[in-house]
Amino acid sequence: MNVLLVGLNHNTAPVGARERLAFSEARLGAALQRLVSESEVAEAVILSTCNRVEVIVVPDAPTAQAAEAVTRFLCDVHDLRSGQVRPHLYVHQSSAAVRHVMRVASSLDSMIVGESQILGQVKRAYAIATAAGTVGRHLHRLFERAFAVAKRVRAETGIGAHAISLGSVSVGLARKIFDQLHDKSLLLIGAGEMAELAAKCFFEAGIESLLVANRTLAHAQHLADCFRGGGRAIGLDELPTRLHETDIVVASTGATTCHINRPMAQTALERRRYRPLLFFDLSVPRTIAPDISSLDNAFVFDLDDLQRVIAANQRERRREAERAEAIVEAETVAFLAAFDRLDIGPTVAALKERLTDICEAEFERYRKRLGALTPEQETVIRNFLLEGIVNKMLHPLILGLREAAQQGVEQVDLRRAFALDAIPTNALADDAQNALASVHQRR
């Protein structure tokens, strides 16, 4: 399968590099269309999460050239120099790319192996690319399969059974500072899925008071209402005046500017008489200024910090992940084999060759009876008449093949009918002659 993946993730790039290359959801559609129109790329999906930016394409050009084009695209679209981007990038092609997509969807490549958010994010990326019209049948099949594999991995291994989410890691850190959480209050900045998951973890840990700050107040209120006792929704502009009321802040917004800066945190700390204030910044680009960490009694953890905390837990998790890797490996091999079988290109080529051979053989056979032909006549017969017949016959067959392939049905019958597998055409002809001869002999 001709698929190419160019990207970076939390293992190859620091958060600074990831935030420079991240795509906001609003820009994703346009970026995909630009990639497909400008580069030699037939299909494309861009997966941009906090921990990874990956461009998955089906290239029209040779792989190396396409990889170069995608890298150039990443630089151009973010106005970056190639030297800033290149060191962090990895390139996977064909089977490696298929395996990588399946590993990512199955959460085997996640910062927290086994976390459940990534599958939703991959599905979202795929839906956006489909809406932008940059998904063709190759990526369609690859992603549909990857979703199925992710589901299987989750069902058959314990990878997600006691998964540590970013939320539960955050709760652990909060307990290192506050000990008891039931009398503490939580502020969410952003009302997305990440915020909700984090809030769930904190509520399970005993937190009872919740503030949700979001640009759209209705979304904030909706999320706040999901929790027992209900929370209060506030606008982002209220943050400076309300920050001191809260003990734990979880930011997971897609905004591109810092919402909470050092002076704001300083004021809040003074107003709360320096009781500790704990920030978790789960967003990329970061929402909470990292230099807040230098204030007394303020603690800031960004995604990279959480990664360090969970490194140890991850080691445990890897044991279960090994089983998942085996599943992914088997699925990759099976997918590639099925894909090759379903790839109608070779079948069409073989079919065309077979039909052309038949036509030309028949023409040669009756050539003498036609008498003298001018070179012009001969060219017309060979280049137009014979090729026309071949193409007319081929057309419905190709349509049938394509339809079958889209439904995932392998066209064994057609290959068998035209004897396209293994046996060379002339050998087949010889076989037929021999068979005929033996029939005659018996008579």
Binding site: L173, K176, R275
Partner: protein, 274 residues
């Protein structure tokens, strides 16, 4: 007395060893329970040894330097056990055990009192008031020892959280809240006792020689101790100081406390011990 004290020291030694091993590897709950019960047993033996000494000499056993150290160890153990009952924090308990052990060990290693009768003669009429003064001081010092342990743990823990480097101790450190709360309580108790101790000292001094201030080095050290802890109390109440700054002041304060403790034994000025 010395046999009972030896039993106490042996019990405390186990607790301290357990705590030191806990620095490298998380101990199993069974070992921790054993260490804790031995600390309780040690405290029992220690209490018995203090009472037996008092019975033996028919006075408050706080005249010789050995008695001072022993009483300090006993008070620290008492605070330590109360803190464990209050917070149920295994981590905090583990780190307080060595402190108790060191005071008790010092008491056991010190030479037996030489001439306590001479000391009592020196203080004469004021002996009983000055005994109260000594008890208050030692109880305050023990509170500051607990504060020191909590402050040190706070600083280590806060450092790891700020630098985001989580060492082997990480999982066993108590939460910042507990460290800060223990510090705050120990501070209140210690500071109140210290203030009372200084007041009784001044009164005793007036009765003894008719002056409030002798210029004795220990008087200066006590004043410094009081000022340091006063700063912590003051800033905690007014500026909302807590955490790291308060913890560092607690550590500096305890350094002066240690200097005073050594001074009691070796500076033979106004404060005479046997």
């Amino acid at each position: 007395m010395s046999t009972l004290l030896l039993i106490a020291v042996a019990c405390y030694a186990f607790g301290a060893t357990h705590a030191i091993f806990a620095l490298w590897q998380a101990p199993s709950p069974r070992w921790f329970r054993l260490a804790l019960w031995l600390m309780v047993a040690g405290f029992g033996a220690h209490t018995a040894s203090v009472v037996a000494r008092g019975w033996e000499v028919a006075r408050c056993p706080l005249v010789s330097y050995q008695e001072v150290c022993s009483f300090l160890g006993w008070a620290t153990a008492a605070y330590f056990l109360s803190a464990y009952i209050w917070y149920r924090s295994q981590a905090f308990a583990s780190f307080a055990m060595p402190m108790v052990f060191l005071f008790a060990l010092a008491a056991w290693l010190l030479p037996a009192p030489s001439d306590t009768a001479a000391v009592l003669r020196f203080y004469g009429q004021t002996a009983s008031l000055l005994t109260v003064h000594a008890v208050l001081f030692i109880l305050a010092y023990a509170a500051f020892a607990i504060l020191f342990v909590a402050a040190a743990l706070y600083i280590v823990q806060e450092r790891q959280l700020k630098r985001k480097r989580f060492g082997p101790l990480w999982s066993r450190l108590p939460s910042l809240d507990i460290c800060d709360d223990v510090s705050a309580k120990a501070l209140v108790i210690g500071f109140a006792l210290l203030t009372l101790g200084i007041l009784t000292g001044i009164l005793g001094s007036r009765r003894l020689n008719g002056v409030y201030w002798h210029g004795d080095p220990l008087e200066f050290l006590s004043l410094a101790t009081w000022l340091i802890y006063f700063c912590v109390v003051h800033y905690r109440l007014t500026a909302g100081w807590r955490g790291r700054r308060a913890a560092w002041l607690g550590i500096v304060g305890f350094a002066i406390v240690l200097a005073s403790l050594i001074g009691i034994g070796w500076l033979n000025g106004l404060h005479v011990t046997g």
